[in-house]
Amino acid sequence: MSRDAGIRRLSLAAALTIAIGGMAVGLVAVFFWVPTDAFQGVAQRIFYVHVPTAWVAYLAFALVLGGSVGYLKSGSRRWDSLARASAEVGVLFTGLNLLTGMLWGRPVWGTYWTWDARLTSTFVLFLVYVGYLVFRSLATDPTRGARVAAVIGIVGFVDVPLVHFSVDWWRTLHPVAVVRPGAPPQLPASMLVTMLWMLVVFTGLFAVLVALRMRLDSAREALEEAEDAAELEPVPAGSLPA
């Protein structure tokens, strides 16, 4: 391993450790500091992971948009790698957001799912980026595949503002945001601080996951170059882990 690669690996390990430590502090706050909601009971504590997963999903798909535009403009594989990594992590967090929302909805609304504007548009967002990843994995021509995926990544972002403002534009079972720019927060200080802390921690975790996913692309690129240099034949399918 080169010195640079060693430093990168150490930095990522340190960042991951900090994120996990931050998460532990957040959990202590969630379970031992913030008060229990008078109406929703303990289930309301799902809020502290539900909102950060939504925020990370928005951030991830904004980076897919940025990476896609950057790739179409420059043709650089780094931009494409950023878009792909962000899409993968974004899909993970959107899935977790949908799941935690359902688990919160059941005790509070009496149902896991309802086709209201927020839930439906989030589900569509999930499907768009799952489609993006499926398309990428099936594309036979990498360059053409990356270009088409970039267009999907740009068009798909249209759903993000739709998801965010759906609770304002339509009548939904899902509540409106409790923290809005320019308005006083409708939360006690301990709840607000804990939620903001979890937002920061999830953002850090997201950054680490994207960096690890991009590192995988770099390693793959190095492997391709090494194989091309050696002018060797591909291995039969199924003989190595995918």
Partner: protein, 56 residues
């Protein structure tokens, strides 16, 4: 809010399992590629064959 604790437990477990599972998945893929690269560089016995699914 009967059963709220159970929903809370499942939600937090799902979060950690999801994130930890993805981390393990990335680590496994990374190790497979690095091992292959190492074999290539050291001129291993089956040297140079491309792992399936590792195209860009």
């Amino acid at each position: 809010m009967r059963g709220g604790l159970a929903y809370l437990g499942v939600a937090y477990t799902a979060i950690w399992v999801g994130i930890a599972g993805y981390l393990l998945h990335l680590g496994r893929r990374q190790r497979a590629i690095e091992q292959r690269l190492e074999e290539l560089r050291s001129g291993g016995a089956d040297g140079g064959r491309r792992p399936p699914g590792e195209h860009p």
